[in-house]
Symmetry: C2
Subunit: 247 residues, 2 copies
Protein backbone atom coordinates (compact mmCIF):
# COMPACT_ATOMS: atom_id res chain seq x y z
CA UNK A 1 0.00 0.00 0.00
CA UNK A 2 2.67 2.46 0.95
CA UNK A 3 4.51 1.64 -2.29
CA UNK A 4 1.37 2.41 -4.20
CA UNK A 5 0.81 5.68 -2.42
CA UNK A 6 4.44 6.60 -3.04
CA UNK A 7 4.06 5.79 -6.73
CA UNK A 8 0.89 7.85 -6.81
CA UNK A 9 2.75 10.83 -5.36
CA UNK A 10 5.56 10.49 -7.88
CA UNK A 11 3.16 10.20 -10.79
CA UNK A 12 1.17 13.14 -9.53
CA UNK A 13 4.28 15.27 -9.27
CA UNK A 14 5.29 14.20 -12.77
CA UNK A 15 1.90 15.12 -14.19
CA UNK A 16 1.98 18.48 -12.49
CA UNK A 17 5.39 19.10 -14.01
CA UNK A 18 4.18 18.14 -17.46
CA UNK A 19 1.14 20.37 -17.18
CA UNK A 20 3.32 23.26 -16.07
CA UNK A 21 5.70 22.65 -18.97
CA UNK A 22 2.84 22.62 -21.45
CA UNK A 23 2.54 26.35 -20.83
CA UNK A 24 4.96 27.88 -23.29
CA UNK A 25 5.79 31.29 -24.65
CA UNK A 26 3.33 30.50 -27.45
CA UNK A 27 0.47 30.07 -24.98
CA UNK A 28 1.30 33.44 -23.50
CA UNK A 29 1.33 35.05 -26.93
CA UNK A 30 -2.08 33.53 -27.70
CA UNK A 31 -3.48 34.82 -24.39
CA UNK A 32 -2.09 38.31 -24.86
CA UNK A 33 -3.50 38.40 -28.38
CA UNK A 34 -6.92 37.23 -27.19
CA UNK A 35 -6.89 39.91 -24.48
CA UNK A 36 -5.88 42.51 -27.05
CA UNK A 37 -8.79 41.52 -29.31
CA UNK A 38 -11.23 41.41 -26.40
CA UNK A 39 -10.13 44.86 -25.23
CA UNK A 40 -10.59 46.25 -28.73
CA UNK A 41 -14.18 45.02 -28.89
CA UNK A 42 -15.04 46.25 -25.38
CA UNK A 43 -13.39 49.60 -25.93
CA UNK A 44 -15.45 50.14 -29.05
CA UNK A 45 -18.68 49.46 -27.18
CA UNK A 46 -17.74 51.57 -24.18
CA UNK A 47 -16.57 54.43 -26.36
CA UNK A 48 -19.89 54.46 -28.24
CA UNK A 49 -21.54 54.76 -24.86
CA UNK A 50 -19.30 57.68 -23.92
CA UNK A 51 -20.01 59.33 -27.28
CA UNK A 52 -23.74 59.08 -26.70
CA UNK A 53 -23.45 60.44 -23.18
CA UNK A 54 -21.15 63.29 -24.12
CA UNK A 55 -23.36 64.23 -27.08
CA UNK A 56 -25.90 65.70 -24.67
CA UNK A 57 -23.53 68.50 -23.90
CA UNK A 58 -21.38 68.82 -27.04
CA UNK A 59 -22.88 66.87 -29.94
CA UNK A 60 -20.51 68.62 -32.37
CA UNK A 61 -17.48 66.72 -31.04
CA UNK A 62 -18.90 63.33 -32.00
CA UNK A 63 -18.74 64.23 -35.68
CA UNK A 64 -15.46 66.15 -35.63
CA UNK A 65 -13.39 63.41 -33.96
CA UNK A 66 -14.08 60.07 -35.56
CA UNK A 67 -11.08 58.26 -34.07
CA UNK A 68 -12.23 56.56 -30.85
CA UNK A 69 -8.97 56.75 -28.96
CA UNK A 70 -8.48 60.44 -29.80
CA UNK A 71 -12.07 61.17 -28.76
CA UNK A 72 -11.64 59.52 -25.38
CA UNK A 73 -8.27 61.14 -24.63
CA UNK A 74 -9.50 64.58 -25.64
CA UNK A 75 -12.29 64.45 -23.08
CA UNK A 76 -10.02 62.88 -20.50
CA UNK A 77 -7.35 65.55 -20.82
CA UNK A 78 -9.12 68.81 -21.59
CA UNK A 79 -11.36 70.73 -19.26
CA UNK A 80 -15.01 71.20 -20.12
CA UNK A 81 -14.52 74.93 -20.73
CA UNK A 82 -11.57 74.29 -23.07
CA UNK A 83 -13.60 71.78 -25.07
CA UNK A 84 -16.56 74.12 -25.43
CA UNK A 85 -14.31 76.94 -26.58
CA UNK A 86 -12.35 74.85 -28.99
CA UNK A 87 -15.12 72.85 -30.66
CA UNK A 88 -18.26 74.92 -30.38
CA UNK A 89 -16.98 78.46 -29.96
CA UNK A 90 -19.17 78.62 -26.85
CA UNK A 91 -22.29 78.06 -28.96
CA UNK A 92 -22.99 74.34 -28.73
CA UNK A 93 -26.29 72.70 -29.66
CA UNK A 94 -26.04 70.72 -26.44
CA UNK A 95 -27.00 71.51 -22.89
CA UNK A 96 -24.59 73.26 -20.56
CA UNK A 97 -23.93 70.85 -17.71
CA UNK A 98 -23.10 71.61 -14.11
CA UNK A 99 -19.73 70.35 -12.94
CA UNK A 100 -21.54 67.72 -10.91
CA UNK A 101 -23.06 66.24 -14.05
CA UNK A 102 -19.98 66.63 -16.24
CA UNK A 103 -17.44 65.05 -13.90
CA UNK A 104 -18.87 61.49 -14.23
CA UNK A 105 -18.51 61.77 -18.01
CA UNK A 106 -14.92 62.92 -17.72
CA UNK A 107 -14.16 60.23 -15.14
CA UNK A 108 -15.41 57.58 -17.51
CA UNK A 109 -13.26 59.02 -20.31
CA UNK A 110 -10.20 58.95 -18.05
CA UNK A 111 -10.73 55.30 -17.17
CA UNK A 112 -11.23 54.40 -20.82
CA UNK A 113 -8.03 56.29 -21.66
CA UNK A 114 -6.07 54.02 -19.32
CA UNK A 115 -7.65 51.03 -21.07
CA UNK A 116 -6.47 52.35 -24.42
CA UNK A 117 -3.01 52.60 -22.88
CA UNK A 118 -3.34 49.03 -21.69
CA UNK A 119 -4.15 47.94 -25.23
CA UNK A 120 -1.00 49.70 -26.37
CA UNK A 121 1.02 47.93 -23.68
CA UNK A 122 -0.32 44.54 -24.77
CA UNK A 123 0.79 45.33 -28.30
CA UNK A 124 4.24 46.27 -26.98
CA UNK A 125 4.45 42.98 -25.12
CA UNK A 126 3.46 41.05 -28.23
CA UNK A 127 6.02 42.97 -30.25
CA UNK A 128 8.84 42.27 -27.81
CA UNK A 129 7.93 38.63 -27.35
CA UNK A 130 7.58 37.94 -31.06
CA UNK A 131 10.85 39.69 -31.83
CA UNK A 132 12.48 37.08 -29.63
CA UNK A 133 10.29 34.10 -30.50
CA UNK A 134 9.58 34.58 -34.20
CA UNK A 135 11.63 37.45 -35.65
CA UNK A 136 11.30 36.33 -39.27
CA UNK A 137 7.51 35.93 -39.09
CA UNK A 138 7.25 39.31 -37.41
CA UNK A 139 9.39 41.07 -39.99
CA UNK A 140 7.38 39.69 -42.88
CA UNK A 141 3.84 39.64 -41.49
CA UNK A 142 3.88 42.34 -38.82
CA UNK A 143 3.18 41.77 -35.12
CA UNK A 144 -0.57 41.19 -35.04
CA UNK A 145 -0.78 38.94 -38.09
CA UNK A 146 2.21 36.88 -36.92
CA UNK A 147 0.60 36.52 -33.47
CA UNK A 148 -2.71 35.49 -35.05
CA UNK A 149 -1.01 32.82 -37.16
CA UNK A 150 0.91 31.52 -34.16
CA UNK A 151 -2.18 31.44 -32.01
CA UNK A 152 -4.23 29.83 -34.78
CA UNK A 153 -1.67 27.10 -35.36
CA UNK A 154 -1.35 26.46 -31.62
CA UNK A 155 2.42 26.75 -31.44
CA UNK A 156 5.44 27.77 -33.46
CA UNK A 157 6.37 24.13 -33.79
CA UNK A 158 3.10 23.28 -35.47
CA UNK A 159 3.39 26.34 -37.68
CA UNK A 160 6.86 25.27 -38.77
CA UNK A 161 5.71 21.87 -39.97
CA UNK A 162 2.54 23.16 -41.61
CA UNK A 163 2.22 23.26 -45.41
CA UNK A 164 2.16 26.82 -46.72
CA UNK A 165 -1.34 26.29 -48.14
CA UNK A 166 -2.60 25.70 -44.61
CA UNK A 167 -0.89 28.86 -43.37
CA UNK A 168 -2.55 30.73 -46.23
CA UNK A 169 -5.98 29.70 -44.93
CA UNK A 170 -5.43 29.93 -41.15
CA UNK A 171 -8.24 32.09 -39.86
CA UNK A 172 -10.53 31.24 -42.77
CA UNK A 173 -11.67 27.93 -41.30
CA UNK A 174 -15.33 28.77 -41.50
CA UNK A 175 -15.19 29.63 -45.20
CA UNK A 176 -13.01 26.60 -45.89
CA UNK A 177 -15.43 24.14 -44.33
CA UNK A 178 -18.35 25.84 -46.04
CA UNK A 179 -16.45 25.29 -49.28
CA UNK A 180 -15.78 21.64 -48.51
CA UNK A 181 -19.34 20.96 -47.41
CA UNK A 182 -21.39 22.83 -49.92
CA UNK A 183 -19.11 23.57 -52.84
CA UNK A 184 -19.10 27.33 -52.19
CA UNK A 185 -16.05 29.19 -53.46
CA UNK A 186 -12.86 28.27 -51.66
CA UNK A 187 -11.33 31.04 -49.54
CA UNK A 188 -8.09 32.59 -50.77
CA UNK A 189 -6.76 33.98 -47.50
CA UNK A 190 -7.29 33.87 -43.75
CA UNK A 191 -5.46 36.10 -41.27
CA UNK A 192 -3.04 37.23 -43.98
CA UNK A 193 -5.93 39.00 -45.70
CA UNK A 194 -5.05 42.00 -43.52
CA UNK A 195 -1.47 42.10 -44.76
CA UNK A 196 -0.80 45.21 -46.77
CA UNK A 197 0.47 43.24 -49.78
CA UNK A 198 -2.87 41.39 -50.02
CA UNK A 199 -4.82 44.54 -49.16
CA UNK A 200 -3.18 46.52 -51.94
CA UNK A 201 -3.41 43.78 -54.55
CA UNK A 202 -5.99 43.94 -57.34
CA UNK A 203 -8.92 41.67 -56.62
CA UNK A 204 -7.98 39.19 -59.31
CA UNK A 205 -4.41 38.99 -57.99
CA UNK A 206 -5.28 38.61 -54.30
CA UNK A 207 -5.11 34.80 -54.42
CA UNK A 208 -1.74 34.82 -56.11
CA UNK A 209 -0.29 37.34 -53.69
CA UNK A 210 -1.70 35.42 -50.71
CA UNK A 211 -0.11 32.22 -52.01
CA UNK A 212 3.28 33.90 -52.43
CA UNK A 213 3.08 35.46 -49.00
CA UNK A 214 2.06 32.22 -47.28
CA UNK A 215 4.91 30.48 -49.08
CA UNK A 216 7.49 32.84 -47.59
CA UNK A 217 5.74 32.85 -44.20
CA UNK A 218 6.09 29.09 -44.11
CA UNK A 219 9.84 29.46 -44.66
CA UNK A 220 9.95 32.12 -41.93
CA UNK A 221 8.21 29.82 -39.47
CA UNK A 222 10.79 27.11 -40.12
CA UNK A 223 13.67 29.58 -39.75
CA UNK A 224 12.19 30.84 -36.49
CA UNK A 225 11.51 27.44 -35.01
CA UNK A 226 14.87 25.90 -35.94
CA UNK A 227 16.71 29.10 -34.90
CA UNK A 228 17.91 29.80 -38.43
CA UNK A 229 19.28 33.06 -39.73
CA UNK A 230 17.24 36.28 -40.10
CA UNK A 231 15.77 36.55 -43.59
CA UNK A 232 12.39 38.17 -42.90
CA UNK A 233 13.29 41.59 -44.28
CA UNK A 234 14.85 40.06 -47.38
CA UNK A 235 11.71 38.01 -48.13
CA UNK A 236 9.55 41.04 -47.55
CA UNK A 237 11.52 43.12 -50.04
CA UNK A 238 11.42 40.33 -52.61
CA UNK A 239 7.65 40.04 -52.29
CA UNK A 240 7.19 43.79 -52.48
CA UNK A 241 9.29 43.87 -55.64
CA UNK A 242 7.37 41.00 -57.18
CA UNK A 243 3.83 42.05 -56.30
CA UNK A 244 4.17 45.73 -55.47
CA UNK A 245 4.49 46.64 -59.16
CA UNK A 246 1.05 45.20 -59.95
CA UNK A 247 -0.83 47.87 -58.11
Amino acid sequence: MSDFSKMRDVLLALTKKQIAEAVTEDTMIAQALASFDELTVQLNTLTSRLREWHAYTLPELDHIISDNERFVKLIAEKSYTELLKEFAADKSMGALLTDENYIPIQNMAQKLATLYDERGELLNYLEKTLKFRAPNMQALAGTTIAARLLSGAGSLRRLAIMPSSTIQLLGAEKALFRHLRSGAKSPKHGHIFNHQLVQHAKRADAGKVARGLADKLSLCAKLDFFKGEFKGDEYKEALEKKFGGNN
Copy 2:
Protein backbone atom coordinates in the same frame (compact mmCIF):
# COMPACT_ATOMS: atom_id res chain seq x y z
CA MET B 1 -35.38 88.82 -47.38
CA SER B 2 -33.39 90.17 -44.50
CA ASP B 3 -36.47 89.90 -42.32
CA PHE B 4 -36.78 86.27 -43.24
CA SER B 5 -33.15 85.52 -42.52
CA LYS B 6 -33.49 87.33 -39.21
CA MET B 7 -36.53 85.25 -38.37
CA ARG B 8 -34.65 82.12 -39.34
CA ASP B 9 -31.84 83.05 -36.96
CA VAL B 10 -34.24 83.67 -34.13
CA LEU B 11 -36.10 80.41 -34.71
CA LEU B 12 -32.83 78.51 -34.95
CA ALA B 13 -31.63 79.98 -31.67
CA LEU B 14 -34.95 79.10 -30.10
CA THR B 15 -34.76 75.51 -31.32
CA LYS B 16 -31.21 75.17 -30.07
CA LYS B 17 -32.34 76.43 -26.70
CA GLN B 18 -35.22 73.96 -26.61
CA ILE B 19 -32.96 71.07 -27.57
CA ALA B 20 -30.49 72.05 -24.86
CA GLU B 21 -33.30 72.31 -22.32
CA ALA B 22 -34.57 68.85 -23.25
CA VAL B 23 -31.44 67.50 -21.57
CA THR B 24 -32.45 67.17 -17.95
CA GLU B 25 -31.10 65.60 -14.80
CA ASP B 26 -33.20 62.55 -15.74
CA THR B 27 -31.34 62.14 -19.04
CA MET B 28 -28.05 62.20 -17.16
CA ILE B 29 -29.30 59.59 -14.72
CA ALA B 30 -30.35 57.37 -17.60
CA GLN B 31 -26.94 57.77 -19.27
CA ALA B 32 -25.02 57.06 -16.10
CA LEU B 33 -27.15 53.98 -15.49
CA ALA B 34 -26.61 52.74 -19.04
CA SER B 35 -22.86 53.24 -18.65
CA PHE B 36 -22.96 51.41 -15.34
CA ASP B 37 -24.75 48.44 -16.94
CA GLU B 38 -22.44 48.45 -19.95
CA LEU B 39 -19.38 48.50 -17.70
CA THR B 40 -20.73 45.58 -15.70
CA VAL B 41 -21.12 43.46 -18.83
CA GLN B 42 -17.71 44.39 -20.23
CA LEU B 43 -15.99 43.87 -16.91
CA ASN B 44 -17.44 40.37 -16.66
CA THR B 45 -16.10 39.47 -20.10
CA LEU B 46 -12.69 41.02 -19.52
CA THR B 47 -12.37 39.41 -16.10
CA SER B 48 -13.13 35.96 -17.55
CA ARG B 49 -10.31 36.62 -20.00
CA LEU B 50 -7.96 37.56 -17.17
CA ARG B 51 -9.01 34.45 -15.24
CA GLU B 52 -8.18 32.25 -18.21
CA TRP B 53 -4.84 33.93 -18.75
CA HIS B 54 -3.87 33.86 -15.10
CA ALA B 55 -4.88 30.20 -14.79
CA TYR B 56 -1.77 29.21 -16.73
CA THR B 57 0.35 30.18 -13.82
CA LEU B 58 -1.93 29.77 -10.80
CA PRO B 59 -5.07 27.81 -11.68
CA GLU B 60 -5.88 27.37 -7.99
CA LEU B 61 -6.78 31.06 -7.59
CA ASP B 62 -9.61 30.88 -10.11
CA HIS B 63 -11.55 28.50 -7.87
CA ILE B 64 -10.67 30.04 -4.54
CA ILE B 65 -11.78 33.60 -5.41
CA SER B 66 -15.12 33.54 -7.12
CA ASP B 67 -15.86 37.25 -6.76
CA ASN B 68 -14.68 39.00 -9.92
CA GLU B 69 -13.74 42.32 -8.39
CA ARG B 70 -11.80 40.69 -5.56
CA PHE B 71 -9.99 38.45 -8.06
CA VAL B 72 -8.90 41.40 -10.17
CA LYS B 73 -7.78 43.54 -7.24
CA LEU B 74 -5.85 40.71 -5.66
CA ILE B 75 -3.73 40.26 -8.78
CA ALA B 76 -3.42 44.00 -9.23
CA GLU B 77 -2.17 44.62 -5.71
CA LYS B 78 -0.13 41.60 -4.69
CA SER B 79 3.20 40.57 -6.13
CA TYR B 80 3.52 37.30 -8.01
CA THR B 81 5.64 35.77 -5.23
CA GLU B 82 3.11 36.76 -2.57
CA LEU B 83 0.28 35.20 -4.56
CA LEU B 84 2.14 31.95 -5.08
CA LYS B 85 2.99 31.72 -1.41
CA GLU B 86 -0.48 32.56 -0.21
CA PHE B 87 -2.58 30.44 -2.54
CA ALA B 88 -0.44 27.52 -3.63
CA ALA B 89 2.15 27.24 -0.87
CA ASP B 90 4.76 27.49 -3.66
CA LYS B 91 3.42 24.27 -5.21
CA SER B 92 1.06 25.41 -7.95
CA MET B 93 -0.21 23.19 -10.77
CA GLY B 94 0.56 26.02 -13.17
CA ALA B 95 3.73 27.08 -14.89
CA LEU B 96 6.19 29.44 -13.23
CA LEU B 97 6.34 32.54 -15.40
CA THR B 98 9.23 34.90 -15.93
CA ASP B 99 8.63 38.48 -14.85
CA GLU B 100 8.45 39.43 -18.50
CA ASN B 101 5.50 37.15 -19.05
CA TYR B 102 3.76 37.91 -15.76
CA ILE B 103 3.86 41.69 -15.95
CA PRO B 104 1.37 41.93 -18.85
CA ILE B 105 -1.13 39.89 -16.82
CA GLN B 106 -0.69 42.12 -13.79
CA ASN B 107 -0.91 45.25 -15.94
CA MET B 108 -4.22 44.08 -17.32
CA ALA B 109 -5.48 43.39 -13.79
CA GLN B 110 -4.46 46.89 -12.69
CA LYS B 111 -6.33 48.50 -15.56
CA LEU B 112 -9.41 46.41 -14.85
CA ALA B 113 -9.18 47.42 -11.18
CA THR B 114 -9.47 51.08 -12.15
CA LEU B 115 -12.53 50.16 -14.21
CA TYR B 116 -14.12 48.52 -11.18
CA ASP B 117 -13.42 51.75 -9.31
CA GLU B 118 -15.08 53.67 -12.12
CA ARG B 119 -18.14 51.49 -11.78
CA GLY B 120 -18.20 52.32 -8.09
CA GLU B 121 -17.92 56.02 -8.89
CA LEU B 122 -20.84 55.83 -11.30
CA LEU B 123 -22.91 54.24 -8.56
CA ASN B 124 -21.88 57.06 -6.20
CA TYR B 125 -22.94 59.61 -8.77
CA LEU B 126 -26.30 57.89 -9.21
CA GLU B 127 -26.74 57.74 -5.46
CA LYS B 128 -26.01 61.44 -5.00
CA THR B 129 -28.13 62.53 -7.94
CA LEU B 130 -31.10 60.40 -6.94
CA LYS B 131 -30.92 61.57 -3.35
CA PHE B 132 -31.52 65.05 -4.69
CA ARG B 133 -33.88 64.22 -7.55
CA ALA B 134 -35.97 61.36 -6.15
CA PRO B 135 -35.26 60.79 -2.44
CA ASN B 136 -38.48 58.91 -1.76
CA MET B 137 -38.05 56.50 -4.67
CA GLN B 138 -34.46 55.93 -3.61
CA ALA B 139 -35.33 55.23 0.00
CA LEU B 140 -37.96 52.68 -0.94
CA ALA B 141 -36.47 51.01 -4.00
CA GLY B 142 -32.73 51.50 -3.60
CA THR B 143 -30.49 53.38 -6.01
CA THR B 144 -30.24 51.02 -8.97
CA ILE B 145 -33.89 50.02 -9.09
CA ALA B 146 -35.00 53.63 -8.71
CA ALA B 147 -32.64 54.65 -11.52
CA ARG B 148 -33.93 51.84 -13.74
CA LEU B 149 -37.53 52.87 -13.18
CA LEU B 150 -36.70 56.50 -13.90
CA SER B 151 -34.78 55.61 -17.03
CA GLY B 152 -37.48 53.18 -18.17
CA ALA B 153 -40.24 55.75 -17.73
CA GLY B 154 -38.17 58.42 -19.51
CA SER B 155 -38.45 61.07 -16.82
CA LEU B 156 -39.60 61.61 -13.26
CA ARG B 157 -42.56 63.57 -14.62
CA ARG B 158 -43.79 60.60 -16.62
CA LEU B 159 -43.19 58.28 -13.69
CA ALA B 160 -45.26 60.54 -11.43
CA ILE B 161 -48.32 60.41 -13.68
CA MET B 162 -48.02 56.69 -14.39
CA PRO B 163 -50.50 54.20 -12.91
CA SER B 164 -48.86 51.96 -10.34
CA SER B 165 -49.66 48.88 -12.43
CA THR B 166 -47.44 50.30 -15.18
CA ILE B 167 -44.64 50.95 -12.70
CA GLN B 168 -45.03 47.36 -11.52
CA LEU B 169 -44.30 46.10 -15.05
CA LEU B 170 -41.64 48.61 -16.18
CA GLY B 171 -38.75 46.49 -17.42
CA ALA B 172 -40.97 43.51 -18.23
CA GLU B 173 -42.14 44.91 -21.57
CA LYS B 174 -41.09 41.84 -23.51
CA ALA B 175 -43.04 39.45 -21.30
CA LEU B 176 -46.01 41.81 -21.25
CA PHE B 177 -46.29 42.00 -25.02
CA ARG B 178 -45.80 38.26 -25.29
CA HIS B 179 -48.72 37.94 -22.89
CA LEU B 180 -50.89 40.32 -24.89
CA ARG B 181 -50.04 38.71 -28.22
CA SER B 182 -50.10 35.05 -27.44
CA GLY B 183 -51.98 34.65 -24.18
CA ALA B 184 -48.87 33.54 -22.28
CA LYS B 185 -48.91 34.24 -18.53
CA SER B 186 -48.83 37.92 -17.67
CA PRO B 187 -45.64 39.09 -15.93
CA LYS B 188 -45.93 40.03 -12.27
CA HIS B 189 -42.92 42.34 -11.96
CA GLY B 190 -40.33 44.18 -14.03
CA HIS B 191 -37.33 46.00 -12.55
CA ILE B 192 -38.79 45.69 -9.06
CA PHE B 193 -38.26 41.92 -9.28
CA ASN B 194 -34.78 42.62 -7.88
CA HIS B 195 -36.14 44.38 -4.82
CA GLN B 196 -35.43 42.41 -1.67
CA LEU B 197 -39.10 42.34 -0.64
CA VAL B 198 -40.02 40.59 -3.91
CA GLN B 199 -36.89 38.45 -3.81
CA HIS B 200 -37.66 37.18 -0.33
CA ALA B 201 -41.37 36.60 -0.95
CA LYS B 202 -42.76 33.10 -1.44
CA ARG B 203 -43.40 32.37 -5.09
CA ALA B 204 -47.15 32.46 -4.69
CA ASP B 205 -46.97 35.83 -2.91
CA ALA B 206 -44.56 37.54 -5.32
CA GLY B 207 -47.35 39.12 -7.36
CA LYS B 208 -49.07 40.51 -4.30
CA VAL B 209 -45.84 41.91 -2.89
CA ALA B 210 -44.92 43.45 -6.25
CA ARG B 211 -48.32 45.10 -6.46
CA GLY B 212 -48.00 46.55 -2.97
CA LEU B 213 -44.48 47.80 -3.68
CA ALA B 214 -45.45 49.37 -7.01
CA ASP B 215 -48.35 51.06 -5.27
CA LYS B 216 -46.08 52.78 -2.77
CA LEU B 217 -43.46 53.52 -5.45
CA SER B 218 -46.11 55.34 -7.42
CA LEU B 219 -46.83 57.51 -4.39
CA CYS B 220 -43.08 58.11 -3.96
CA ALA B 221 -42.74 59.24 -7.56
CA LYS B 222 -45.51 61.78 -7.08
CA LEU B 223 -43.98 63.03 -3.82
CA ASP B 224 -40.61 63.38 -5.52
CA PHE B 225 -41.89 65.15 -8.61
CA PHE B 226 -44.14 67.58 -6.77
CA LYS B 227 -41.50 68.18 -4.10
CA GLY B 228 -43.62 66.71 -1.33
CA GLU B 229 -42.42 65.59 2.08
CA PHE B 230 -40.08 62.64 2.68
CA LYS B 231 -42.05 59.47 3.35
CA GLY B 232 -39.87 56.83 1.65
CA ASP B 233 -38.56 55.27 4.84
CA GLU B 234 -42.01 55.19 6.39
CA TYR B 235 -43.48 53.38 3.37
CA LYS B 236 -40.61 50.94 3.39
CA GLU B 237 -41.16 50.06 7.01
CA ALA B 238 -44.88 49.62 6.44
CA LEU B 239 -44.27 47.25 3.55
CA GLU B 240 -41.68 45.30 5.48
CA LYS B 241 -44.11 44.93 8.34
CA LYS B 242 -46.90 43.84 6.03
CA PHE B 243 -44.97 41.40 3.83
CA GLY B 244 -41.86 40.63 5.84
CA GLY B 245 -43.81 38.29 8.15
CA ASN B 246 -44.82 36.04 5.29
CA ASN B 247 -41.38 34.69 4.69
